[in-house]
């Protein structure tokens, strides 16, 4: 939130002039028929993508030369807002004259870039990126019809965010490498989820197979499991494990054995004792909650000298960031 966001604007103000012109006068709207195909000596392909109930639907017409796989002519029809019309029109323009294999490589980002007025200013506001994705998907649909294969065969990897074209593999890797903890961080690092937001969590504009919230939860869980496995493995192999890399149970055991070695015997001699109630991670600190037993409880030194001794032992033996808090 900042000055720019306080008044807000009309999304229409963010459309490039090219987008506006194409909304008003699309160049490639219309149909192609079997007669057109015969005249050009090609094969007619009609592909539909999207659904009116979702707010966008597009139909793509191609006439393809069966000998060279070249797209001889293309047209579209579209149910959708102006940017859907402009994106579809641009997509058709980009298809013309390409081979089917070349056309499949056109992405929604190519479509959006082709509608920019200047190279560095997006043609449409973020929530409208979605429209160009549909233009891209319908090409794959047309190509799959032409080749008689599944649409998925044109996708090498699983795409989580269609708008920014970010794959599942990339998102998982970025979370692990950068120790990301929130969806906002994923968006900052990869742009996934920055546009139509459907991929962030269920309930958005589109139903998705993968959502960022789930991916994040899964990867964090895997990272935690790996950390635990690593700690156990190192302990079992007799390797020194630093306090902060220990599992919770290992930490409790380590604290107890340190106390047994250096503290408890003196307390017992004086007719007292202590127990560890809980440990909590508090930012960089590990807070150890303890309770005094027997003669120790109520002893004047329990909040000064004794406490200081306990904390010093744990700091020295385990971790300098341990704090001891008597209850």
């Amino acid at each position: 939130m900042a000055k720019q966001d306080l008044i807000g604007g009309s999304i229409w103000e963010e459309y490039s002039l090219k987008v506006q012109q194409l909304m008003n006068n699309p160049r490639n709207q219309g149909e192609l028929t079997e007669e057109d195909a015969k005249r050009l000596g090609g094969e007619l392909i009609i592909a539909d993508y999207g659904a009116e109930s979702c707010g966008d639907a597009v139909r793509l017409y191609w006439i393809v030369d069966p000998k060279t796989d070249r797209i001889l002519d293309a047209k579209f029809k579209s149910f959708g807002c102006g940017t859907a019309i402009a994106s579809s029109d641009t997509m058709v323009e980009l298809c013309k004259g390409k081979t089917v294999d070349e056309a499949v490589k056109i992405t929604n980002i190519d479509v959006e870039k082709a509608m920019r007025d200047t190279p560095d200013k997006p043609a449409v506001p973020p929530q409208k990126m979605h429209c160009s994705v549909m233009a891209y998907d319908v090409i794959k649909k047309a190509a799959s019809l032409y080749k008689g294969v599944d649409m998925e065969s044109f996708e090498d990897e699983i795409i989580v965010c269609e708008c920014a074209r970010v794959s599942l593999g990339t998102i998982r890797e970025v979370i692990k490498l950068n120790d990301l903890k929130t969806v906002e961080e994923i968006t900052d690092y990869t742009k996934a989820g920055a546009f139509c937001k459907s991929c962030i969590k269920p309930g958005g504009h589109e139903e998705r197979e993968y959502y960022l919230v789930d991916i994040l939860a899964d990867v964090r869980k895997e990272m935690e499991e790996e950390r635990l496995k690593e700690a156990v493995k190192r302990q079992e192999s007799g390797e020194e494990v630093s306090f902060k890399d220990m599992t919770l149970v290992q930490k409790i055991k380590a604290i107890d054995s340190a106390l047994d070695e250096s503290i408890r015997q003196y307390l017992i001699m004086d007719g007292g004792n202590m127990e560890v109630l809980d440990i909590k991670q508090n930012g960089e600190y590990t807070d150890v909650y303890i309770r005094y037993l027997g003669a120790c409880s109520g002893c004047a030194s329990s909040t000064s000298g004794t406490l200081y001794a306990i904390e010093s032992v744990l700091k020295e033996k385990l971790d300098p960031n341990i704090r001891v808090l008597p209850i």
Binding site: Q29, D48, S53, G55, K77, F79, C81, A84, G204
Partner: protein, 397 residues
Amino acid sequence: MMKVYLDNNATTMVDPRVKAAMDPFFTEIYGNPNSLHDYGTACHPALRKAMDRMYEAIKARDEDDIVITSCATESNNWVLKGVYFDLIKNGEKDHIITTEVEHPSITATCRWLEEQGVRITYLPVNSDGIVEAHTVRDFITDKTALVSVMWANNETGAIFPIEEIAEICKEKGVLFHTDGVQAIGKIPVDVIKAGVDFMSFSAHKFHGPKGVGALYIRNGHPLTSLLHGGEHMGGRRSGTLNVAGIVGMGKAIELANYYLKFEEENVRRLRDKLEDAILELPDIYSVGPRENRTPNTILVSIRGVEGEAMLWDLNRAGIAASTGSACASENLEANPIMTAVGADSELAHTAVRLSLSRFTTEDEIDYTIEHFKNAVKRLREISSSYAYLPENMNTKQ
């Protein structure tokens, strides 16, 4: 090119007579009405007159309060949060009933209250776009603190059975609030006859200025304040009085009442003319029966044409309309009204709202009819889903 403003349910032009009434309160009579000196007291006659006009317009009695706020959003927030603090937070009650089609200042506040642990029932509307009064009876319990149902719907203009709902609430001893924003100036509003406990309204919806609204409170019923800080509005709502705004709202509501008959006859006639002409086109539907709508509103669904695209074409012709289509907003969900009235899902993104005012002229309506038809024709020619190839021809043989 003609300019035609048909988005009067969003906001209205300030009536020039309202502007004239407000004018002295900027550079001449600018004192703080709470001050002791002459500058302060000079405001009082006009403020009293404005308040009298408001009481008169909605038929409030002297023992009732009309507390001036900054807008109906504030009034709506105040009622819901006030009731939460007074009746729910202490464990006495735990439930509020509202509808699926309220203004966001009600629904978003209710969502927030849900996070605070309040149980909220969202009543559905029927295929005419109205909430049926008996549904309130079905859901009300002895733990219900408040029922909040709008008087007229902003998108469809559908008028809700406020009197019947108030009757049920009275019988069950539950407070009843209505958001009257879309009713004032369009249909007669009598808070006593209707039997409501609270009613929100806002000046800019009836040719008054933006930034001033009110909450009617029957018998001065206690309600924890939203804004603390002074003795303004009898201590109920702090903040230096918006003198010019209050004067403007007073004048605007007086005029709105004066023009009710005009609204009912002339505005309705123009609205019906526009609606008849639009409905001559094939595959266009309007939501809700005319006789149960505010006289200025039409919500139409145009098969095969997406709402924002329609707005774009109308705007190019100088005509301002509105759409609940998801594409036109940040939020990509389908229009809740279209879903609520059970329109088939293909129509969910095709709704366009046209809302007239007493300033709308016959010429403007004729011009709109012509350009509306042109826009539908152009967009249906582009449309992939209107009257083209049968489905089974879409795939390669």
